[in-house]
Structures are given as structure tokens and as C-alpha cells.
């Protein structure tokens, strides 16, 4: 097996992670804001429904890629996330890796005879 072999589940996870990281590029956000922004900025193509966002956020926080802090506002405490320095470099790396993987996938799907429009 090639060293560059792509696990489809890992690819899906990578996309989700990259979406979260990209959303946090603009600054601190609550979990639900990340979810809404991903949906809005992708024009509804990517949706993080049913709390799928939280395992991603918590894993990224454990890895030190994002950092959470609690904000005490008017209502109950809310958690805000921001990108760390290593998160920014991870985002750049993920973007390159995803672009490579998706290009391979597209080549495979379109076949050798495909002529770009």
C-alpha cells in the first residue's frame, strides 16, 4: 500500500476538522457559532448536525490545536474556542493534504479520458 493511501473515514474526519479550524481563523467563537458559520460559509453544503461538532472540538482542544475558555455573560457560562499557533499551521497542512487527496479522488472518479472543461 502506498504511503499516501487515503482512509475514507480519516478523509471525512479531516474535512470536519479543517472546517472547524477554518471557521476559527476569524477569531474566538462558541461551538454553535462554528456550526452555523460552517453551514453559512459553505452555502449549506457542509452541516455539522446533532452535536457532531463537539467530539471534534474536544479532540482538537486535547491536541492543543484550539484552546477553549469559559465566558461568563448574562445567562449561563459559555465556552469559547480560539485557534492556537499550532492550529494555524495544522490548518495550512490540512488544506494542502485535503487538496491532494481530493484531487486524487477526482482523477479516479473522472477517469483517464476526462478533459477539463
Amino acid at each position: 500500500m502506498s504511503e499516501d493511501a487515503v482512509d475514507v473515514q480519516a478523509l471525512a474526519r479531516g474535512i470536519n476538522e479543517a472546517l472547524v479550524l477554518a471557521s476559527l481563523r476569524d477569531g474566538e467563537k462558541h461551538g454553535y457559532q462554528i456550526s452555523l458559520d460552517v453551514e453559512r460559509e459553505s452555502a449549506g453544503r457542509f452541516v455539522l448536525q446533532h452535536g457532531t461538532l463537539y467530539p471534534i472540538l474536544h479532540r482538537l482542544e486535547k491536541e492543543g490545536v484550539i484552546k477553549g475558555r469559559w465566558e461568563k455573560g448574562e445567562g449561563r457560562r459559555k465556552k469559547l474556542y480560539r485557534l492556537t499557533r499550532s492550529g494555524r499551521s495544522r490548518l495550512a497542512g490540512e488544506a494542502d493534504q485535503l487538496s491532494e487527496s481530493l484531487n486524487s479522488l477526482l482523477r479516479l472518479l473522472r477517469g483517464p479520458d476526462h478533459v477539463p472543461a
Binding site: G31, Y32, V47, G51, T52, K78
Partner: protein
Amino acid sequence: MFRPESGRPDATLALARVAERVRELHHPVRTRILLELAGDVEALTADLQGMGMPEHEASRQAAERVVPSSAALDALIRLHLPFYRRVSAPVPDSTLRRWERGTLLLVTTLLLGAALFFLGAHGLLVNPSPFLWTVLVLSGGVVALALATSFRLFVLRDHQPGTVGRGLGALLSLSGIAPIVAGVGAVTDLWGLAGALEVAVADPVPVLTAWLIRESVLLTTALLTAVTGGLVWFLLAREAAAIRGGDEEVQQTLGGARLAGVESQPATPALTPKETER
């Protein structure tokens, strides 16, 4: 604003179901997960209402988007499951409990053996007070309870208030009984010494010296047991109080939704194809 107690059962019940599932996680992780979800549900509900959505619909949609489905919750729990639980997962519960009890017994025996060896090596067990054995048994109990309760709180992350409370109560009681037994022993031994001296001992100095050594060993062992047991009790009680505080905060967040009654509620919504997170 999202207020669980103000008649919006969708989000509250969904969060209560999450609360039931994350009970196996340790403090403060489980509290933080629930507060984070509740905070996001509340904020999203407010946002959706701000966009003109009716309150009930806003709450329903917020819960649907924020509250993790069964699969997402599994992933979240796996992520935060304590190390010991993760590595011991393949071992059947009954076997694991036997191993744990065996290890606890072994460690307690080793610690008591080390204490006896230390006393013996320094000649302090040549003519011990009969009360010393009782104090040593109590010390063994304190060590076993301290280990078992610490293991339960910090390794197993089992925070059942009843079990932890009983363990802490017994730990404090044994720690307090040890100096009382030693005090009674010292008085009884003093009574015995007085009787021995009355019988006109030719040279009372060796008798007095032996008594002093015996009593100092008895009292020191009892005091060490009491201080160590008390200190461990204080630390564990503080941790247990923090856990209780977290649980109360969660109860307040969930308002009227009783956790125990949630088990009878319908299961969490089915998975959707978009749930790729595992």
C-alpha cells in the same frame, strides 16, 4: 432565552439524556460538557428567536443542532474516558473487581508489613503495648479505605455519593478511633506500670524506660494514623464536594428534568448520514 424550567421540554430532556450518558465520565469533564451544551443551546435558541422564530421551534432546532446524537456522544465519551477504564475495558467486570480487591489487599499488607518491619528493625516491638496491635489494625483499615476511596474517585472516576460518602465516613471514624484507643491504652499501661512499681522493684529505671518506649510507639503510631487519615479524608472530601457542586450545577441547568426519570424517555434521535465523526 433558554430556561429549562420554563416549559420547553425538548432541549431539557435531550440534555438530561446526555447527562445520564456522561455519568461514567469523571468530574469536572462531565459537568463541563453539559454546561457547554446547555450554554450553546441557550445562545442558539436566543439567536433563532431573534430571527423571528417562535420560542418552541427555536428551542427544538437548537437542541437538534447542538445536543449530540448517540454516535456523537459515544465519540465524546470515548475521548474523555479515563485511562484505566479504557485499558481495562476488555476485562470482564467481575474479574476486574477481583483483581482490584486483590491488589488493594496486597498493597495494604505490604504497607503494614513495611511498618512492622520498621518497628521491629528498631527494636520497638520487643515488648509492645497490647493496644498497639489494635492501633495497627485500625491503621491497616485507614490505609485500605484511603486507597480504595482514592482509587474510586481518581482512577475509576466513580462518584456515586453514597459509596464515596460511606468510604469517607469510615476513613474519618477509623482515623479518629486510633488515638482514642491509644489514649485508653496509655492510661491502662500507666495503671499497670503503677502496679509494677508498687511491688518494690529494685531498679525502676529499666521498667520506666521500657514503658516510655512502649507508650511512645503506641501514641506515635496512633497519631500518625490519625493525622494521615485526617489529611487524606480532607483531600478526598474536598474532591467529593467539588464533584457534588458540579452535579448540582448540572441539576440547576437541567431544571425540572429529573435524571433518574430520564431513562424511561425515548432514545436519542437516529443517526443521519452526515454524522461522519466516529
